[in-house]
Amino acid sequence: MTDHRQTPKSAYMSSGDMLLIVNDALLGDAAELYIAVGLDSRVTAFNGHVDLGTGIRTSLAQIVAEELNVPFEHVDMVLGTTSVAPNQGATIASETIQITALPLRQAAATARQHLLAMAAEKVGVPLDRLRLEDGIIRADGGENWQLSFGDIVAGSHVRLSIDSHAALKPASDYTLVGSSRPRVDIPDKATGRWTYVHDVRVPGMLHGRVVLPPYAGFDHGDHVGKSLISIDDASVAHISGIVSVVAIGDFVGVVATREEIAIEAAKSLKVVWRAPPEWPDLNMPEKALRANPSTPRKLADRGNVDMALAGSTQPMNRTYVWPYQMHGSIGPSCAVADYNEDGLTVWSGTQNPFPMRRDLALLLDMPEEMIRVERMEAAGCYGRNCADDVTADAALLSRAVKAPVRVQLTREQEHAWEPKGAAQIMDVRGGLDLEGGPSAYDFETRYPSNLAPTLPLILTGKVPPVSDVVQMGDRTAIPPYAYGNLRVTVHDMPPIARASWFRGVSAMPNTFAHECYVDELAAAAGVDPVEYRLRYLHDPRAVDLVNALTERAKWVPHTTWGTLGGEGDLFYGRGFAYAVYVHGPFPGKAAAWAAWVADVAVNKKTGEIAVTKVTCAQDSGMMINPDGVRHQIHGNIIQSTSRVLKEKVEFSSTAVQSKEWGGYPLITFPEVPAIDVLMVPRQDEPPLGVGESASVPSASAIANAVYDATGIRFRELPLTPELVLAALNGKMDEPPAAPPAKKRNWWSIGLSAVGAVAALSGIVTMASPWRPAIGTIQRPNADVYSTATIERGRLAAAAGACNVCHVGNDGTPFAGGRRFDTPFGAVYATNISPDAQSGIGAWSYPAFERAMRAGVSRDGHHLYPAHPYTSFAGADDADLQALYAYMMTQAPVDEKAPETKLKFPYSIRAMMAGWNALFLKAEPFQYVETRNATWNRGAYLVETLGHCSACHTDRNLLGAEKSGSARLSGGFADGWEAPALNAFAKGPVGWTADAFYDYLRTGHARDHGSAVGPMAHVVEAMQPLPDSDIRAMASYLASLNEGKEPADPSAQSEAAIAASDEAKVSAALISPKGERIFNGACATCHTGNTILSSLALNSNLHAVTPDNLLQAILNGVEAPAILAQTTGREAPEVMSMPAFRETLNESQIKDLADYLRARFAPDKPAWTETTKAMERVTAASY
C-alpha cells in the first residue's frame, strides 16, 4: 500500500496473472471481489466489515488460510476500503464472523477447488490423488513435481463466481482455525510503525479543525443548521498560517498550514450562535424518556398476563434505569480528505465505509463512484463514534481549499458530540404466585436511539434535522426464562440526545432488568438465585453453561443476602447473571451465551464498590482464535464493569457537559478485578459473535452482588459511591456548611460611588488638584550616559519589573496597552518607551521623576495609583536617574496605548490630588541602623523599586494600600490573589529566607508552589538582578515573620501532606464529583509525582478565596521549565498545566475546588463564595 491507498479493484480486474473469486462473474468488472490469488502465490482476501480493534483481521485471515491450506502468513486481509472490498454494510452486532465471513469462506473453498482442478489438468493427475498443503500442490504418489498457486495462475486471468457447492473443509480437519494465532498488527503497533487514520499524511496536506455549535450532543430540532448568527473573521486576522475559514449553515471550520495554528484559529474564532433550545433533564432520564412520544410494539404475549398479575400473592413492580453513556474512544475521531477534479478520497476510521460513502455523495453532490473510502484503523469505538462526522468535515474543508485536509476532533468535541449509548427505562410488572414461582412477567422497555445522521449533513442543511425512529430497543427484550404469563412491549421512540448503538445495544439494559428481577423473585421466594433461574431455564446449552460456571466459581447456594459477611468497613457479596445476547432486528439472532459470577466488596463508610473478581463462562460455538475470544471476554468484562460502576453522561439543559475523562471517568488499572474465564469447548458448533456477549450480564451480576452484600437493591446506574452511600445511610447527608470566610476582597466591599465622590471631593478642597505641565525636550542621546549608569538602570527596571505591566500586547517591551481591571474601571498601562509622540521620549528627568514619585504626568494630569508611585517615592535619586537613562536608551515604539477612561466620577483625575494628600507619603527610604546591610538592601528593593506592596497589600475603599498590619498581608491584583508575605501567609509551611530566595529566583519553592500568573512574569523580569539582591529581598521578607518563624519547615510540610492523605475519604464525601474530576483530570501530575510538590503545600489551596486556584484551572500554568530557563535555573518539570476553560463547566470546577480545598487544606474552612470568585476570575483579563 503506497500513499495509504489500497490497490483498487480495477487493478485486480485488469491483471493478467490472477485468479479472482467474485460474487457474480456475470457482473463483469462491477462484481464484488472476495479473493485474489496472484503470481506471487499470495492470497488477498476482502471483507466489507472492518477491524474495530477486536483482532478480526487476524481471525478472518485464519479462516481464509485454513480453507485454502496456505500458510497463515500468505494471506493479506483488506477490510472495508470501498474501492476494492465488497459492500457488506456496517460493522455492527458482532456479526462479522457469524455472517460476513461466510461468503469469504465459501470463496476460499471455491478458489481451492479451482486451483486443484487446474493442477490436475496441468499435470494430468486425477484430482483425488492431489494434495494441497502449505500452499503447495503435490500428488500423493511421491512424484517429483509440485505446483504453487503462482504456477497455476500464471498467464491467465480467471474470474469465478463464489460456488455455493464448493466443498468446505470439515471442521475436524482444522489446524489453523481454533488455534491462537498471534495478532498480525501488534508488532507494528508496539513499535510505532502502524498507520492509524490519525497517522495518514499525504503530500500537501493542510490541517483543519471544526467549530461546533452550542447545542452539543443534540442533533434534531428546527434550530439545527440554522443557529449561526455571525463569524468575526477579524478575530483570527492576527494569526498567520490560516488558509481558510469555512461556514456552511451551522458547519464552521478552519484550515491552516500547521496543526497548532488550526487549533489556535478554532479557539480564537469568534462565532456568534443563537441560544440553543432547552431539553428535559437527562441526568435523571426516567421522566424524560417516559414523556418522549413513543409507539408500543408488542414482541410477545403468552398466557394471561393481566389475570396472573391480579392473582399475584406478592406483586412486585419494578423500574430499572440505564443512563446515557459514551463509547469513549481513546483517540478522538480524525480523517483526511483529498478533494480534486478526479473525485474525493477520504481516509477514515469509519465503522460503515459504504453507508458513509453514500452520505458523502449526498453532502457533496457527487456520484458515489467518484468517492473512494480508504478505511484505516482508528481507536476502538464499540459502536458509532464521530468517525463518519469527521470524515465529512474533512471532505467539506478539502473541497473549500482544494487541497488535502486532515481534521482532528478535540477530546471535548468527541465527548460532546459522539452519538451516545442511549438511556433506557425498563419496567417489570410481576410477582410471586402461591408456590413462589413467577406469576407473570410484563416487561416494557423504552429506548430513545437512532441512526445519528452524519453531522455535517444536518449542520449544512443537506438533510432535515428530524429525529427518526428505529426499532432497536428490542435486543434481548425477551427474557430467557420460561415465564408462563409473558408480555413484552418495546416502546419505539425518537432520540432525545444524539444517540446510536453502543456495545450490547439495548440488550445490556434489558438484561439488567431481566436478571435483577429474577434475582428479586428468588430472594422473595427464599430460593437460591441460581437454582431459581434453572427452574425456568430450558435451553440445554444455557443450562450447561450455568452449571459449568457455578462449579468453576464454587457457587454456594444461599437463600438470603449477607451470607458472606464482611470485615472492617467492608461487606462482601456475590451475584450471578446470565444472558444470551440476541442481536439484529427482532426476533434476532443469538450470539455467544455468557454468564457471570461477580464478587464485590462494598465499603460502608465511603460507598465505594470494588468488583474484586469476575468469573465468566462463555459458549461461543467454534472459536476461530481462542486467544482472540479470551481477549474479547476480558475486554467486555472490564469495559462493562466500568460502565456499571462509573459511567454516566452529564447534561445541562442545552448540551452535553462531560467533556473529558474526569467528568466521565473510566475504570483504571488499580480497580480492574481479577478475572477467571471459562470458555466452553464447542468447536463442532458454528461460530458465534463474541464482541459483545460477555458485557450483557455485567450490570445485573454486579447489582445482584451488591444486594447480596448489603441487602439493598440498586435499580439505576452507575453505582457511584454517593448513590450507594445515600442508600446505606437511608438518605444523603449534606456536607457540613463551613463558616463564612472573614476576609473580603477590597472591591467586594460594595464601594458606593456616591460615598467615594463625597469622600474625595471633600479632600479635593484641601489639596490643589492642578499641577503644571513640564515642557518637552529633545530625547537625550544615548551616549550621554555611561555604561555603568545604563546597567544600573537596567537592574532598577528589573527590580521594578516595569515591563510586566508596560509590555505591549504583542510582547513589545515598554509599548504599553495592557489593560488592568480595577473596581473603578479599566486602566491601561502607558507606553513608556522613549518615543517622543507615543512614549516618554520628550520627557525631561524632572518630568519622569515627578511621575515616578508623585504620580503626575508630564502634562500635569494625575496618574491613577495602578502606577505604584507611592512605592517609587522612596527610591534613591541615583536609581531613578539610572532608570531614566536606561529607558531613554530603549527602542522607541511609535504606538499610542489606549487611553484610560474611567467612568464618572473616577474620570475626574483631579480627585487624585486629594487621594495623594491622604495616601502619598513622599519620604525617601530610611536605612535601619539596627539591621545589617543585606537586610536594608532587601527592604529598599521590596519597599521602593520592587513595589511588592502594590499587589501584596489589601487596599481600602479608595484603592489605597492599607497600612499597619495589613501591610504585605496579601491583596488582589489583576484577577489574582497576591498572598500575604508575612506571618499572615496561609500556607501550611512558614516562609523562610531560603524559600523566598528559591521562589524569587526560580519561580518555585518546594513547600509553597510555583509562581504563576503575573508573579511568574515578575520572577522572569527580575532575572537580571544579582543573586545578592534576591538574597537581600529574601532576607528582608523573612524578617517580616520575625517572632513567628516556622518551627521546622520539613516537619510542617510532612504534617500537611499527612493531613491531606488523611482527608482523602472525607473530601470525597464532601465532593464526590470533585474527587472524580481530580482523579481523572489532575491526579496524573498531582499525586505520586516526585517532581511537583504536593498540592497540600500549595499556598493557593490555603488561601481565603479560591481565585488563584480558579485562575490555574481555567487558564492553565506554564511549565516550570520555561520559567526556569528564563531565570537560568534547572527545573525538571517540562509539562505545563493545560487550561480547562473550554473543558470543565462552572459547576464541575466548583465541585473540583470544593474537593481540592477539603483534601489539601483540610484545616481551613470550605470556600463559600466560589461562584463569585469565578465571576471575578473570568472577568479578569490577565
Binding site: L52, G192, T195, H207, G635, I638, P670, V1134
Partner: protein, 179 residues
Amino acid sequence: MTLPVCFSLNVNDAVESVEASPETPLLYILRNDLSLNGPKYGCGLGECGACAILVDGRAVRSCTVPLGAIGTRRITTLEGLGTPEYLHPVQEAFIDEAAAQCGYCLNGMIIATAALLNRNANPDEDAIREALRHHLCRCGTHMEILAAARRAVAYAKAERTYRSTPDGVSPKAAKEVSP
C-alpha cells in the same frame, strides 16, 4: 501564539531542527514535523496518556509539554525505544502477550512501563498498576497489559544479566524465563 522560533531537539538519539511557536505542544512537533506516529493525540489535557514519551528517561505527556520547555533534554518516542528487529524488552513483552486490542493506548502503556522499569527494576503488582493508573484503555485490555508489564520486568532483568555477563543468556533465550 507567538512567532515561530528555530529549535534543535534531541529525539531518539538524533538532533532534529524544527521551527514553530514555542507554545506548540511537543506532540504536534513529533507527529507532524518529525513524522513520528508513536505518540498519539488522546485528550490534549494530560489525562489519558496516549501521547506519552520519555524525557530523560521519565514518562511525560507530550500534549502538555510546550516546545519551548524541552531544551536539550533527551526525547525518546516509541519508535526510538526499539525497532521490530531490535525490540525493547517492554515492546517484546507487549507483543508476546498480545497486549492490544485497538492499540491506540499502546504507546502510553509501553512508555509508562519502560519508565517504571527505569526507576524500579523490581516493581510488584501494585507498583505496576499504580504506574499505569493514569493511562486509559477503552477496549479493556488491562489484563493483557498487566501480564505484559509483568513479563517486561522479567525480560528487562534477563537483558541486564545478558549485558553484564559476556557469556550470559541472550535476551531471546531469556524469554523462557517465566515472568
